[in-house]
């Protein structure tokens, strides 16, 4: 079995916001570094499995509009996440399956037809100098990923080494459904849930919210009926968890996300459950969402069930 090495990806057009991401970096809370990583980690993990990489290999995360990428030496690639209407030298290509790109072919992605993010995974993974054990890009600080920034026209990315033998793989359609988009985010009570009146909590669960334009990997600003915390209480700044739903005095919630601030001083009405965090990564500005409260036990069961589904032998078809 021979190995392929020294292969590259040339960025012909970068798309709106395309970054190198893996599953992020843990353990740096004490110096204020958030985890970063793929906004939809399930899409990245499945994409990596389709090209026989470790689940945590680095891929490209595209946002709302994709780019055009040329593979001068060829590659095995897979697209997962939202459908960006991909083509290969003009012909439509399927999502959720591994395909071979011949030397010199260009894969072109357009505007999204479903959610916010599409992932391009390549056999061998994207090779960048790791920062704190991760390839993930942290845009605010310009750390990690490819030169700490979003990709630009003309960038040349290196593909990691991989064995050359490879069998085509696809996600079984019924399995993919399990992870499909839903516009209901389930949440558990936040550490300051009792700072909100019954009316506010009811309104939070019953009304729908719109994802604001000023939403990004740091946080999603929601628009809708305000759910203000009870006034007059002063909070001491504390650590904030991934998916925390904080509510400033104006009452419009903000979901803190993977490039989030690590501490904050606004009360948190709830926290998106782990099993739904990947859905947050697929929300686009102007999407309508609702919240559904669940218990901590239910949240844990949903995560266990999701991981079981992800590890199921029936997920991938060869």
């Amino acid at each position: 079995m021979s190995a392929i090495a020294g292969h590259t990806i040339q960025v012909q057009t970068p798309g709106l916001l395309t970054t190198v991401q893996d599953l992020g970096r843990d353990g740096l809370g004490p110096i204020g570094v958030s985890p970063s990583g793929a906004a939809d980690p399930i899409a990245l993990r499945l994409g990596n499995r389709l090209v026989a990489n470790a689940e945590s290999a680095a891929g490209l995360e595209m946002t709302l509009t994709g780019g055009t990428f040329v593979f001068p030496e060829g590659a095995i690639v897979a697209l997962t996440g939202s459908d960006f209407g991909a083509t290969l030298d003009g012909a439509a290509v399927e999502m959720w399956t591994s395909t071979e790109v011949r030397p010199g072919q260009a894969r072109c992605l357009g505007a999204t037809r479903s959610g916010a993010r599409c992932y391009l995974c390549v056999r061998g993974g994207i090779e960048v100098t790791p920062f704190l054990d991760s390839a993930s890009t942290h845009l605010l600080t310009g750390l990690g990923g490819f030169e700490g920034r979003a990709l630009r026209k003309g960038d040349v990315l290196h593909i990691g080494p991989a064995a050359s033998s490879f069998g085509k793989r696809s996600i079984a359609p019924q399995a993919a459904q399990h992870f499909s988009l839903r516009n209901v985010l389930r949440f558990t009570a936040g550490p300051q849930a009792d700072w909100f009146s019954e009316a506010s909590m009811r309104s939070f669960c019953e009304s729908s919210f719109r994802v604001g334009e000023q939403s990004n990997r740091m946080g999603l600003r929601l628009e809708g009926a305000p759910v203000p915390p009870t006034s007059g209480r002063q909070m001491t700044t504390e650590g904030v968890s991934l998916g925390a739903i904080q509510v400033p005095p104006g009452g419009l919630p903000i979901i803190l996300f993977i490039d989030q601030q690590t501490t904050g001083g606004y009360p948190k009405i709830g926290n998106v459950i782990s099993a739904d965090l990947h859905r947050v990564g697929q929300l686009r500005p102007r999407d309508e969402i609702r919240f559904e409260r669940v218990t901590f036990e239910a949240a844990r069961s949903l995560l266990v069930e999701q991981e079981r589904a992800l590890r199921s032998g029936e997920l991938l078809a060869e």
């Binding site: 204020g32 501490t263 949240a299």
Partner: protein
């Protein structure tokens, strides 16, 4: 006789994969030292399944792998650490200086802060540089240290509308806190000066210039000295 530490600790689930440990609900030196002791002991004897730690004024947020630990299991483990907390020695604090050029383009809010308190800009500088501050914790963005406390006469509310972008190195004040913005970020603190020191240096072993528990003073410098230090 001081109460055993575990009596003062309160546990609160923050999410399905994180647990908050509170030592009271207010800023105090005692709470700060308990947070540090717990952080230090978890650092020296790591718990399998803990993914991240976020210290703050009087709390420690513990992120864990929900597939390996439950809130109850983690709480039981942390209670064992808390029982031995008083025996955890705190290293003697480092003393660091942050050279700061006050006012002018570096401190666009200095004059307004002075006017708010009915004092001269020079007096604001003198007061800000007169105190040794404690690094309560780092958070918000990489390398951002929450420093306390400002002299009471300098306590100033945040800007009504935060700036869209605050230049890296800006020295700000808000309430009774002061801090340095390590990166160009949005910010609502009032800016009184700027330091040429890089607060976050990813290429160094100790990436953050400041660490939890450090003692810090601000030293006024001229614009010429600022330029010199920046070019070093």
């Amino acid at each position: 006789m001081p109460a055993p530490v575990t009596e003062g600790a309160r546990f609160q689930a923050a999410s399905d994969q994180s647990l908050l440990v509170y030592f009271g609900d207010a800023i105090s030196l005692d709470a700060h030292e308990r947070v540090r002791r717990l952080l230090l002991s978890l650092d020296s004897r790591p718990v399998v399944g803990i993914r991240n730690l976020h210290p703050a004024y009087c709390s420690l947020l513990v992120d864990f792998d929900a597939l390996r630990l439950s809130h109850g299991e983690l709480e039981a483990i942390l209670r064992e650490y808390l029982e031995r907390l008083d025996a955890v020695p705190l290293p003697s604090p480092r003393e660091l200086e942050i050279p700061t050029c006050y006012g002018g383009e570096f401190g666009p809010d200095l004059d307004e802060v002075a006017a708010l308190h009915g004092m001269t800009p020079d007096r604001v500088i003198e007061l800000h540089a007169s105190v040794t501050y404690l690094v309560y914790f780092l958070g918000f963005v990489p390398g951002f240290a929450y420093l306390g406390e400002l002299p009471a006469t300098l306590a100033t509310p945040r800007l009504a509308a935060p700036r869209r972008s605050v230049p890296a190195g800006s020295v700000g004040i808000a309430g009774n806190q002061t801090g340095v913005y390590p990166f160009a970020t949005p910010g609502g603190w009032r800016l009184i000066g700027r330091t040429p020191i890089a607060m976050f240096r990813p290429d160094r072993g100790d990436m953050s210039f400041l660490s939890i528990g450090d003692r810090v003073r601000f030293t006024p410098i001229s614009a010429a000295r600022f330029a010199e230090l920046q070019n070093q």
